[in-house]
Amino acid sequence: MAGQTDMELIKDGVRLDGRKADELREVKIVAGVLDNANGSCYLEWGNNKVYAGVFGPMECHPRHKQKADRAIVQARYTMAPFSVNDRKRPGYDRRSSEISYIVSQAFEKVVMVEEFPKASIRVDMQVVEAHAGTRCAALTAASVALADAGIPMRDMIPSCASGKVNDVVVLDLNKEEDNYGQADLPLAIIPSTGEVVLLQLDGHLTPDEFEQALDLATSGCMDLYKKMRLALENRYGGSA
């Protein structure tokens, strides 16, 4: 968040990419795109492109991570070197590590891990093109992949970010807004209960703006949730 405000990111309610303050970028979700993975999803969100794949429940490796009474969710988020304009060196870095960890935590809340003692459920998210909001895109794609893999869950987890640019609270920041805006708030919720399983904030928000941003991100998540359902219904046929 550079917070530079000499750049006009929103003018008369219209953003640089033509969207209104409360509009999501275009999202396309396809379930069941990979043959090997037990469940998978390909998601395009604006110019973001993410693949998610799930294996399991299966034997837990390494053995010492095994839990006697439940499965563990091993989530991993990676960005391909060509996913950003300034090539990213292949390999794991601290940002990927942090995102992997908070995604694992989010899924531990909804996946019914008690049904698979000693097992592991592996969730892998690969960002092949990045344009801000990749952790939300990855988490959303992973939720669809988990459902596609038949993993028992209490709900799917849609994830969406809101933020602030030029003192206006907006939904779903694109790359310029993320770089030059004033706040970025990624959120993930459980649609059936409204519980928050992921929330981060970078930047500056007044208490009122925070409430606004939370409302906006929540509604973005609910819109996204509809698209997630549609993707699975398309794959498996809404009714036989």
Binding site: A68, D148, P152, R154, L232, Y236, S239
Partner: protein, 228 residues
């Protein structure tokens, strides 16, 4: 032969796909594929709900992991030999155990590999599943035996009923048209034996069902494949 018929597809026209978290309106007792919250019943897996015989179930239609049930006949592959047991892959969330006392062979201690080596396959029955989820299989029941020829195809366990078909119609058609012997493990591991080309045709038909279980017109496609 055991469970060789499936009439799951009876109420086809009224089936609606449910997703994890969906609320299920029911007065029946909760069965499998569901969870309870605030006294209500919700689906936990992607599948079709089935309110029958006083139980509300959701039958998963995706997923590659097998949940062992006592009495299920399965095809298992040896992945490890130990002094008095074999560790067997049955496609579950962890490997199963075949104890020497359940093998029907007289196995001297430490000599297990001579009877069943890594990579060998058997037709067995799940005979024990304990509270912690550990499971054991047995070679001593019915027609259980080591398999010496043919090949093994792995499909998703949720597609097994489709491979069997209504009253076994699908699998009977495959067997007859390809002149093969086929054993369908409830775990989705399927043994096929016969002439090389016939096995290949049967395998193709089974894999097609696995890949397209939810598409319309599948039965016709399989018929066409088997006619060739």
């Amino acid at each position: 032969m055991g469970k060789e018929s499936s009439d799951k597809s009876d109420s086809v026209s009224s089936r609606k796909l449910v997703l994890p978290g969906d609320l299920l309106e029911t007065k029946s007792k909760p069965g499998h594929g569901i969870f309870r919250r605030d006294g209500r019943v919700h689906a936990s897996v992607l599948g079709y709900s089935s309110d029958q015989s006083g139980y509300m179930n959701v039958n998963a239609i995706t997923g590659r992991s097998y949940t062992p049930k006592v009495g299920d006949k399965i095809v298992a592959i040896c992945v490890e030999t130990a002094p008095s047991v074999w560790r067997m892959d049955i496609g579950a969330s962890f490997n199963s155990t075949l104890h020497h006392s359940e093998s029907g062979w007289k196995v001297p201690f430490g000599d297990t590999a001579r009877f069943l080596a890594i990579g060998d396959a058997i037709w067995a029955e799940v005979f024990m599943v304990d509270a912690a989820g550990s499971h054991q299989i047995s070679l001593k029941k019915d027609d259980c035996r080591k398999l010496y020829s043919g090949t093994i195809v792995k499909i998703g366990p949720t597609n097994v009923p489709r491979v069997i078909g209504k009253q076994g119609s699908m699998i009977t058609a495959i067997r007859e048209k390809t002149q093969t012997r086929i054993l369908i493990g409830q775990n989705g591991h399927i043994w096929i034996d016969g002439k090389g080309n016939d096995i290949a045709t049967a395998q193709k038909a089974i894999e097609m069902i696995d890949n397209e279980a939810n598409s319309k017109g599948l039965t016709k496609k399989i018929e066409k494949l088997l006619e060739k």
